[in-house]
């Protein structure tokens, strides 16, 4: 189980690193068209990393749990808004 957790951490850390330019672009106030979805990927990666790290390092921490659950709820709302904004697009 520990190995699986570490593999998960490595993978999602890579995702987080890959999505970093999009997050920085949004923070700088110059978002590109593809940045909001990448922001969702980054936030989701952060959630996965956070839950995994919490189980590994601070399994009893209530504040970390609350923060993660709060972020998760925010991400769900943002995901719905982004999905509505982008629509399904043209046929491929």
């Amino acid at each position: 189980m520990l190995w699986l957790r570490l593999i998960n951490l490595a993978g999602w850390l890579l995702v987080l690193a890959y999505m970093a330019p999009a997050v920085l672009g949004v923070l700088r106030g110059k978002p590109r068209d593809g940045d909001p979805p990448r922001l969702i990927y980054a936030a989701f990666a952060l959630l996965v990393i956070g839950f995994n790290l919490r189980m590994l390092a601070v399994p009893e921490s209530q504040i970390v749990q609350a923060a993660l659950l709060g972020l998760s709820a925010v991400v769900s709302v943002f995901t719905l808004r982004a999905a509505r904004a982008y629509g399904r697009g043209l046929d491929v």
């Binding site: 987080l16 949004v26 106030g29 978002p31 990393i49 943002f78 629509g87």
Partner: protein, 147 residues
């Protein structure tokens, strides 16, 4: 609430404290970015809607152009068909004029009758009389098996 993070903080700069601080910074950054990206979504939605409408308009323009080209083709084809029909009418009339003299000499001239049948087939577009009759009654007559 646990005071675990505070305990880590007062122990000074350790690896776990650094990791925690980094993660906190990243989480804060992502959270702020989520809030900041919210208005951008409105603009993206408007842009995409506009693009979709423009694409639809272009499609309509393309379809209209193709329709107009098709209409022109149909009109020219109709004119050509009319011209061909008129040529046929003139030719048939010319042959009838030539046949008038033969008919005056011998109204039952077999060549004349056959030519008239071919003319009828040319103007009606159907098969000549002998072509349709051969398989049925005429054929029986030729064989001598009719009543």
């Amino acid at each position: 609430m646990s005071d675990h993070p505070v305990t880590v903080a007062v122990q000074g700069w350790t690896w776990s404290a650094g990791l925690l601080a980094t993660l906190n910074a990243v989480a804060l950054g992502v959270a702020v970015a989520l809030v900041k990206a919210w208005p951008a979504l409105k603009k993206i939605a408007n842009d995409r809607e506009k693009t979709a409408l423009e694409a639809r308009g272009e499609d309509m323009a393309t379809m209209t152009a193709r329709l107009e080209a098709l209409e022109r083709k149909v009109e020219s084809a109709s004119a050509l068909a009319h011209a061909a029909e008129m040529k046929l009418v003139y030719a048939v009339n010319a042959v009838q004029l030539l046949a008038a003299r033969i008919r005056a000499d011998n109204p039952t001239d077999p060549t004349l009758l056959q030519a008239m049948e071919l003319l009828a087939a040319a103007t009606s577009g159907g098969l000549p009389g002998w072509a349709t009759k051969i398989p049925s009654a005429e054929l029986n007559k030729i064989r001598g098996t009719d009543e």
